[in-house]
């Protein structure tokens, strides 16, 4: 235990900050506000579950190598699981986004939750894009041929070479999943820390107003 005259350690600051903002009861609650009673609330967890499937099937594909699925029936099945997981991921994520917009879910100092969620959406599109580039089939050839013009036109092509299979593969399986994973983790922890946003008119009585 440090005495009051000693400077507070970084680890202590981190622990106290963590305990204050995200105690275990908030991280793993066993209750939720009564207003969380709509099917729309399930699209967040559905998106996360789809992401889990994407990662699991992606790891399966990566273990066997980039060309495996072209010549193996099991590999083709793994690729198919990965493909449909991505389709579900985007469907659920977009419906989740629609729901959160119409609920104005950024209220009550939850702006960062919206921002991280939107970043995750845009980042997911970029990650999916690199995925399409590393299929090593006709679609990859065409997408890389077309996409190069967009990126070259704004100078991004000088570092980000969509026709460079090796670069795109490593971005897809390492760099971007880590980035998206971190953004998603922060997003989910923010939801836990801030709680689910209350209804728009929940405090009209307290405030004596009608919205």
């Amino acid at each position: 235990m440090s005495t009051s005259t000693e400077k507070e350690m970084w680890v202590s600051k981190l622990r106290k900050g963590w305990q204050k903002n995200l105690p275990i009861e908030k991280l793993l609650p066993d209750t939720q506000p009564a207003y969380v009673a709509s099917w729309i609330y399930l699209f967040g967890v559905a998106t996360l579950a789809s992401l889990g499937m994407i990662i699991a099937t992606g790891l399966w594909l990566s273990f066997e190598g980039a060309q495996w699925y072209h010549t193996s029936n099991v590999g083709h099945f793994a690729n198919s699981m990965h493909f449909w997981s991505v389709q579900f991921f985007f469907v659920f994520m977009v419906v989740h986004l629609w729901g959160k917009f119409w609920m104005a879910a950024w209220r009550g100092r939850r702006m960062l939750t919206w921002i991280t969620g939107a970043f995750a959406f845009v980042g997911s599109i970029a990650t999916a894009f690199t995925g399409y580039l590393v299929q090593s089939n006709f679609d990859s050839q065409w997408i890389s041929y077309e996409a190069k013009d967009g990126f070259n036109s704004v100078g991004i092509g000088s570092r980000f070479t969509v026709t460079n299979f090796g670069q795109m593969l490593l971005l897809h399986v390492a760099f971007l999943p880590v980035i998206i994973g971190l953004i998603t983790l922060v997003h989910v922890l923010l939801v836990r820390a801030k709680g689910v946003v209350p209804p728009i008119d929940a405090f009209n009585k307290e405030l004596g107003e009608r919205k």
Binding site: W39, I40, V95
Partner: protein, 54 residues
């Protein structure tokens, strides 16, 4: 290989309206999303009896 692999690898069918065109499959996906959104809003959610405050 998927059971309907052959069917899925045939040429896609497109709906053309002026300069707009969309594949039937993409249209199904988008209509599906809108339907899911609508159902999520309108379908009753189970277990809404008043509970005591924690």
């Amino acid at each position: 290989m998927g059971i309907f692999d052959h069917f899925m690898n045939l040429r896609a069918v497109y709906i053309h309206i002026g300069w707009f065109q969309i594949s039937i499959t993409n249209l199904i996906v988008i209509i599906g999303m809108l339907t899911l959104f609508g159902l999520a809003l309108f379908l009753p959610f189970p277990g809404n009896k008043k509970k005591g405050q924690k």
